[in-house]
Symmetry: C2
Subunit: 608 residues, 2 copies
């Protein structure tokens, strides 16, 4: 039944040989891997204006030079990640670059903050989507958290169905969004050039502004550069591309950069020219759309696709997180099971982990995840900075052809990313301080995990010198609860193993029963030794454990092995388990955990 439900939800299992068919074309990859980056143009330009407007509407023209700065940063990032993709074609992005060029700990900082970041992406974008829905339908207001959780479950399920399937579905909202915004920008620019839009709405470039400072401009720049989060996703997910994977990934990255540049500069320019001031009641994109088209169907189309892409931005996390986790798991910093492919050939454990973590975040913050946004931006710019620094060192060390150009690109990138990161720490410390707590914790955890795996590996390696002494013989201990078919069954099995000794053990709670059982046993099985133990405290495990210690000690002296045979009822119906003391289960787990004995479970399948 579980199997049937699983099939219904995620589809039939795929054979390992079908992996090739599960790779992404460039068009589909662009859709699922860029939804995070592209969706951020819906709020990035607005972030710049929010900082500038504190000095009055006259300061808004500064958005244009700031946008130019962000475009320069975007170009540096795209060129740099293009180099990373070719240099580390197995994916892992910033984690790999930092680990190889800067050392393990820097790799873990980059990897750890990106992992946390993808969880934040999912929680933040899904909550934003739930917000949009509850704003449109106030009757749903009390169910915001439930809606957000439902979205996470939906996207998790979609991703568990396999990459190609989720990409086919998610491509529509992404391309519709890009299409809608490009039309809006085109019509806007046409209106401006044809003089429909009055030029006096905006202050002209260069108007002097009282109180302007480098600090404020940098703050606006840092806020606006939150639009660049998600640019790194493709570098983590290279193995999902069709062959030649690195080449396809690089091309996709460049396309994404171009679209992002067009949308970002278009929106920033229209906002400036229309003289739009940010408002708590209406987003900047909504203001531009309504000035361009009026409140007609085109306006609602833009609003609708924007809401959709905000939700599906979460999907970028689902594409990048599992692959980044696989890279960390292969290096033994995360549990090995994260690198297992599930029924649909995706790394299901990573997908489920991401979904569960995002749901926990949503529940903790009751769906109000807006104040996690700065945390999330800083969590991207730390790995950005580390990756760029790592590439700088790589070029210095390897000095390939054209290394000076490459080095300059990464140096500019490092410089800008470092400043943005610092600006986040300086201006938003009240919101980003948790980084200083959870990053060290995560890194310690990574090291602990690796330490354990290395210790296990060492213990599993066969050492020539210490090859085990062969076992000389077997003693079988058979706890019995009376003389029933179950006991006969187990005894039958014990006899068939031809051991050197079988000892039946009975633990009784009152003397009378013990004597009765001893007498009966001697009549029925005169050839099998029975040991009876009186339990003062009505516990079976206590006296049994002491007896097994005693037998085990004797046995070990002679290189004998002790096997405890435990009969177990297997009822026909699940709820019947409640009707049987789970002593056999408890004894089994106790012995395995605490004693060095083999535990053989003899099932007794109840027929009704």
């Amino acid at each position: 039944m579980v199997t049937a439900l699983k099939r219904l939800l995620i589809g039939r299992p795929l054979k390992s040989t079908e992996l090739g068919e599960q790779k992404l074309s460039k068009t589909k990859a662009l859709a699922i891997l860029s939804s995070d980056a592209l969706s951020s143009v819906a709020y990035g330009p607005e972030q710049i204006l929010i900082v500038l407007v504190t000095l009055g509407a006259a300061a808004l023209w500064y958005s244009l030079p700031i946008a130019v700065g962000i475009l320069i940063l975007l170009i540096a990032l795209i060129l740099s990640y293009r180099q990373i993709i070719y240099a580390y074609p197995r994916g892992g992005g910033a984690y790999m670059v930092s680990r190889v060029n800067l050392g393990a700990d820097f790799g873990l900082i980059a990897g750890g903050s990106l992992l946390v970041d993808y969880i934040l992406t999912v929680a933040v974008s899904v909550s934003a989507g739930a917000d949009a829905i509850t704003s449109a339908f106030p009757i749903l207001h009390d169910h915001k958290v439930a809606i957000a959780v439902a979205f996470v479950l939906l996207i998790t399920l979609l991703n568990l169905r396999g990459i190609t399937e989720s990409a086919s579905i998610l491509a529509y909202p992404v391309y519709l969004f890009v299409f809608a915004l490009i039309i809006m920008i085109g019509v806007g620019l046409f209106n401006i050039s044809s003089g429909v839009v009055p030029a006096e709405n905006h202050t002209s470039i260069g108007t002097p502004v009282a109180g302007i400072s480098l600090f404020l401009l940098l703050k606006a720049f840092a806020s606006g550069s939150s639009a660049l989060t998600g640019v790194e996703a493709i570098s983590n997910a290279i193995p999902n591309f069709r062959d030649p994977a690195p080449k396809n990934a690089a091309k996709t990255l460049v396309s994404m950069g171009l679209i992002l540049a067009v949308l970002f500069s278009g929106i920033t320019f229209l906002a400036y020219y229309y003289g739009i001031t940010p408002s708590a009641r209406e987003t900047v994109v909504s203001q531009i759309a309504s000035q361009t088209f009026g409140r007609n169907w085109m306006y609602y189309f833009i609003q609708g696709t924007t809401a959709l892409i905000l939700v599906f931005a979460a999907n970028t996390g689902y594409s990048a997180f599992p692959l980044l986790a696989v890279n960390l798991a292969r290096d033994k910093y995360l549990p090995r099971m994260l690198s297992n492919r599930g029924d649909r050939l995706v790394f299901s454990n990573g997908i489920v982990t991401l979904g569960v973590a995002a749901i926990i975040l949503i529940l903790i913050f009751k769906g109000n995840t807006e104040h996690l946004i700065p945390l999330y931006a800083v969590g991207v710019f730390i790995p950005f900075t580390l990756a760029q620094t790592g590439m700088m060192l790589k070029w210095l060390r390897e000095k390939p052809a054209n290394w000076v150009t490459k080095f300059i690109i990464n140096t500019i990138g490092t410089f800008i990313c470092f400043i943005v990161t610092m600006m986040f720490f300086i201006t938003k410390l009240t919101q980003v301080w948790p980084v200083f707590i959870f990053l060290p914790i995560i890194i310690i955890l990574f090291h602990q995990i690796r330490k354990h795996y290395e210790a296990v590996g060492e213990q599993l390696r066969i050492q020539e010198a210490a090859s085990a002494l062969p076992i000389q013989g077997n003693i079988i201990v058979l706890p019995v609860s009376g003389i029933t078919t179950v006991v006969e069954n187990s005894l039958n099995y014990a006899k068939s193993l031809s051991p050197d000794q079988i000892i039946a053990v009975y633990v009784g709670f009152d003397r009378e029963n013990i004597i009765k059982l001893e007498e009966k046993w001697k009549k029925v099985h005169p050839d099998i030794r029975i040991v009876t133990l009186y339990s003062y405290y009505r516990s079976i495990i206590g006296p049994l454990s002491k007896f097994i210690d005693f037998v085990n000690k004797k046995a070990n002296e002679n290189h004998y092995n002790v096997t405890v045979i435990i009969p177990q009822f297997i009822p026909k119906k699940g709820w019947h388990y409640f009707l049987h003391n789970q002593s056999s289960l408890m004894i089994r787990e106790f012995l395995l955990l605490r004693k060095n004995v083999v535990v053989s479970t003899v099932p007794f399948h109840l027929k009704k």
Copy 2:
């Protein structure tokens, strides 16, 4: 560590031989078994007045004849339960009487409704206590549910510490409450006789009242008789008394009846004479106390002990529920584990079940359990009626000395209890309808449980005819994941069992690894046969299961047995379990549930 915590909370384990010291003296038994019944005088008389006052203050004198009626019912119940105690000295009260005299299903109706009732008692009385506290300290208002849950945990823990210990602690509030009320009644009566209280406060007996009807009087009677709930508790808990248990229990029952009669009639009379009308703002007991003493320390003493006894009324449930459950479990209607004595010789599983169920009720109703009170009253009067009817039949059938007197007592009891039950159904159907749903469900469940135990018993009985064929030999299947010390260890064990055949099985996810392993295996263990299986769907269980089916079929044909040896890692630290695929655990459970093979677990204790 778990053991240490357990000791701290509930004390050292007691030996079974210490059971005698855990029996209750009459004084202590009276305290813990009567807290429910006695606490109800705090609200019983008030319930009568609430019904009567709907016809105006002039109707309040009817409380006196109604109280006389309730006293008659009380006498009938006490005499009848005294007879039940002697007739069924092993406890079980209404359940036993009904089962023996009316048939199993009536017994189950009585037992089932009492079990549910004790859960309701705990939830209702503890919520009332939490209410009293949050009324006194409004700052705690938001934590009402938490306080109620904490009370349940406290009382559960106290009861897990053993009967004598909980009785020693709980005796104080009960006797203080009785003491305080008796002083109040005494002072009140003295004031009345010395003429301090003006006689014109109340209408004289016999004043005609417009609109009075038999129906209304019966309704008032039924409401007031909710003060008699808890009278049955002693009959369920006879085995907790010191020897001679039935005699001591009977004496305790009579003492309780006397105290209850004095308190009930005293309060009703004072309320009448003082001319008190029920009010939503102040309880009747509070009004009497403040008129008798004014708001001095005596008033607060009475209020305080009343609040305390309302909480500790829950304890009666804790004394009666586990013993009633033991009786049902002995008759196989409830899981057997309810009849196991815990570390402190109490029936801990029953105590914990009661606590958990009460907490669930409190959480579901968010601590507002007042409207469960009628449900709870009807749940007591159904078994009252059944028990009385059962006793009637018993006397008719057995005709012992004085059977006519005994028969008359029970006939009067049956008649009144039946009328009260009907009044609840007629006047409070909107609150008591759940009885018609949960009682049938519980009774069906009881039967299902018994059916299962009987089926199991039959399967465990050794039949001479069908004695099992001896096992001719053993085939050992050893799933391997490579060539490591763990595998060597298991193989070593397999060889020591001198089976007829050992088959190593490797399930691989890619052809290359399979070939590599086969070659390596043949070099290291040329004498052990290896079977390699290719898994298309990256599942180990699938191919392994098919292979075992195949081996099992062959083996069964020759009366051979199949043993699957599964190595299991035992990490040193709990969290390390997350770092290992739990495949060995899953394979073990799958094989035990689905296949007829013995599963031997060979532990491999990791040293770091």
